[in-house]
């Protein structure tokens, strides 16, 4: 079976997004924009199940 790199690419994008959101959270905290910190925090927590979903989908396709 030909291997698919789609999952790897999607996960790489999701992880990249996760890194960016983490960095922005820290920045927002030091700029004292606390509401933004909470929003970014929630986004980052929601990203994790998304990554898990992509992984599971890819695993089941194999």
């Amino acid at each position: 079976m030909k291997r698919s790199w789609r999952g790897v690419i999607y996960l790489a994008l999701v992880l990249f997004l996760s890194i960016i959101v983490t960095q922005q959270t820290v920045n927002a905290y030091f700029y004292e924009r606390y509401q933004l910190v909470l929003v970014l925090c929630v986004i980052n927590i929601l990203i994790f199940p998304l990554a898990l979903l992509i992984y599971r989908k890819e695993r089941d396709n194999d």
Binding site: L11, V21, T25, A28, V37, C41, I47, F48, A51, I54
Partner: protein, 183 residues
């Protein structure tokens, strides 16, 4: 002692993996060299996303704490000066909240007082009240601050002076708190 070839063969047949063989390459560990396959790599990325998600939690907690105002510091009120000691347009130096946190109280009118921690936000030189110019002046690098707001109006400083909260009571001025030092 040299083993016979037959003996070596019989060990190969014994079924144990890896079969006991006399050579010098058995200490080269290849275990795990195929662990990081595509699926393992994807698992690792999911785990990393999880770690990033968890690592934002403390920041969220700190932000929530700031928004709820739990961590706000309380300062003991301290008397600065009696009203009759300060003329209108004059300034008094004092220290608040600690004895090394020098501060400046300016009387703008009969009932209008302003106080700031007077370490310049540029390089912490003491800031003075200039009655002639009507501004707070840092003589080190000619920094100027607006006396009404504490915001910098000229020179190198970019951040406002931290304001001290005041109250007037029983013919004297008291300091009751310090606003946050902007970073």
């Amino acid at each position: 002692m040299e083993r016979k070839p037959q003996e070596r063969e019989s060990k190969k047949e014994s079924g144990s993996v890896p079969f006991p063989e006399d050579n010098y390459t058995h200490n080269i560990r290849k275990a795990g060299e195929r662990k990081l396959d595509r699926r393992g790599f994807m698992k690792m990325m999911v785990g990393a996303a999880g770690i990033f998600a968890v690592s934002t939690l403390p920041w969220g907690g700190l932000a929530a704490k700031e928004l709820a105002g739990i961590g706000k510091r309380r300062y003991e009120p301290a008397k600065i000066a009696d009203l009759n000691q300060i003329g209108v347009g004059e300034a008094v130096e004092f220290a608040y909240p600690g004895k090394h946190d020098s501060a400046l109280l300016v009387r703008l009118s009969d009932n209008d007082f302003r106080a700031y921690q007077n370490a310049c936000t540029h390089l912490k030189c003491p800031v003075f009240w200039s009655k002639e110019q009507g501004e707070l002046v840092c003589p080190c690098h000619h920094g100027f601050f607006d006396v009404k707001t504490g915001k910098p109006t000229g020179g190198p400083p970019q951040r406002p002076l931290p304001e001290i909260e005041l109250k007037t009571e029983q013919g004297a001025v008291f300091a009751t708190g310090v606003k946050r030092y902007e970073t």
